[in-house]
Amino acid sequence: MKLKIREALEGYTFSTPAFLLLFLVLFFPFVYVIYISFFAKTFGYEPVFSGLKNYMEIIRDPVFKYSLYISTLYTAVAVTFKLILGLAFAILFAQEFKGRSIVRTVAVIPWGMPLFVVAAIFFWFFDYNLGLANIILKSILGLKLFWLGPELVVFSIIYVNVWKGIPFFMVNFLGALQTIPRSLYEAAEIDGASAWQRFRHITIPGIKYVMLIVCLLSTIWTFGEFDTIFFLTRGGPGYLTHILPIYIYHQAFSNFNIGTAAAASVVTVPIFLSLISVILWALRR
């Protein structure tokens, strides 16, 4: 009994510094954002309780509705492409061919790069007059495109996100693929299973939990991602790339409306919480 108390005390001693700090910089701000979302608040003024007014205000705001829509669309399309291409890349690198390790190293580079650098590179790559994308297009098709203009900007930010995100999927899938016993494939081949059947009934079941976790993590991070889009478009042109994080930023730091910014932050919480709960479940399984 005495030993148990002693061990518990040791446990608290070891974990207190970390969680005290986290309380200060994360858990308390987190509770505070929920609290402040019920107050009318602008910079320099005392907050006044206003009930659900902030929530009503953002629900009536067409820009907020558009933000939810574009965030969901952006996340869904980007994660789908990362899943498909990440799996394709992983299957490619599971084969043996000359130069595999060089190509694989290059393919992993985007994962290690900072998002703000990726944004800077594509800002230049997509430049209308001098960017490589248009130089290539011009020499092949004889035309130039406004990559960050109104028609293509959503496509372009998805392209950037997919380019940066594929290696995370690929490397995790490659690791999972290697845990599938070779003998399963050999047995299936002897039994006359086609390549598609082997993929469908051996590969997919073998990596399905890794797929689940990787997709959920990527969904959360894509939905919450701020850096590349803010650097590339700052939410524009117009409101076209006003994803939710940028909406929150503009409410707080351009419109100085802390209350609605807080309400918009709180709206994202149930989305993230439910996704993370599934991850916890999958990890504990």
């Binding site: 650098v117 001098l130 490397v171 919450g224 930023y249």
Partner: protein, 285 residues
Amino acid sequence: MKRGTSVLMKKVLIYISAVVVFVWTALPLYWMVITAFRPEKEIYEGLVIPREFTFESVLEIFGFKVEHVTVGSALTPYIINSTYVSLIVMGVSTILGMLGGYALARMRFPGKDLLSSLSLFAYVFPSVVVMVPIFFLFSTWKLVNTHIGLILALLSHSLPYTLWMLRGYFQTIPIDIEEAAFIDGCSRFRTIFRIVFPLSTPGIVATATYSFILAWNNVLFPLILISRTDLQVLSIGIFNYMKADFVPWDRLMAASFIATLPPTLLFFAIQRYIVAGLTAGAVKR
């Protein structure tokens, strides 16, 4: 014969895919590197293959300018600030993460599972949710425009990561070793500091490195917390180039190249551990 052609077909398909993967990933990177190392005038000629090689833009980033005077445009202070802030974040999150991570992995105390889940939640949760309250609270606490404030904010992201990763890593150290030391009369603290931590050096180094990368790559917190140029970090220095009316493409790419090197090289050094970390629970071994 038929089998021979299908094997050949497969080979051809693999090599074509490998070339596609290589070009898809390398093209934007190539565009960054050649722009960073070619003379400024060449940029406006729209040539895909550079004719001249120069370190001019890189030198300019570090404040050495050859022809026209560019005082104030050098990024050296930003680079120093980024390095210094990231190193402190790394130190604090590693030490607190080691203590807390060990408690979560090995010690028995009420609330342990809750704290473990909290650290995963905290790591996965996107920072945009707490962007508004952190700015607001930090202004009341007089932490805006200070490095302490920036470091604390960055810890809200790095510390949950080190906690969760090191917890996982310590769990892989065989418990028999600890029990043997304990039976031999080694005290708990001695066991931890003399046996567990030294045995975990690779995992600790990898986790510390990644927490450095997380801090270096961050955009959101310096953007909202720091407005004084002398305190600003590299990510925002690059953003300032992108915001300019006439973007200095050569310097933007040279700065991007410099900003990419540390995190990318470090990432490749520790990649093995990072990949094993998050999805470890989902891979059957």
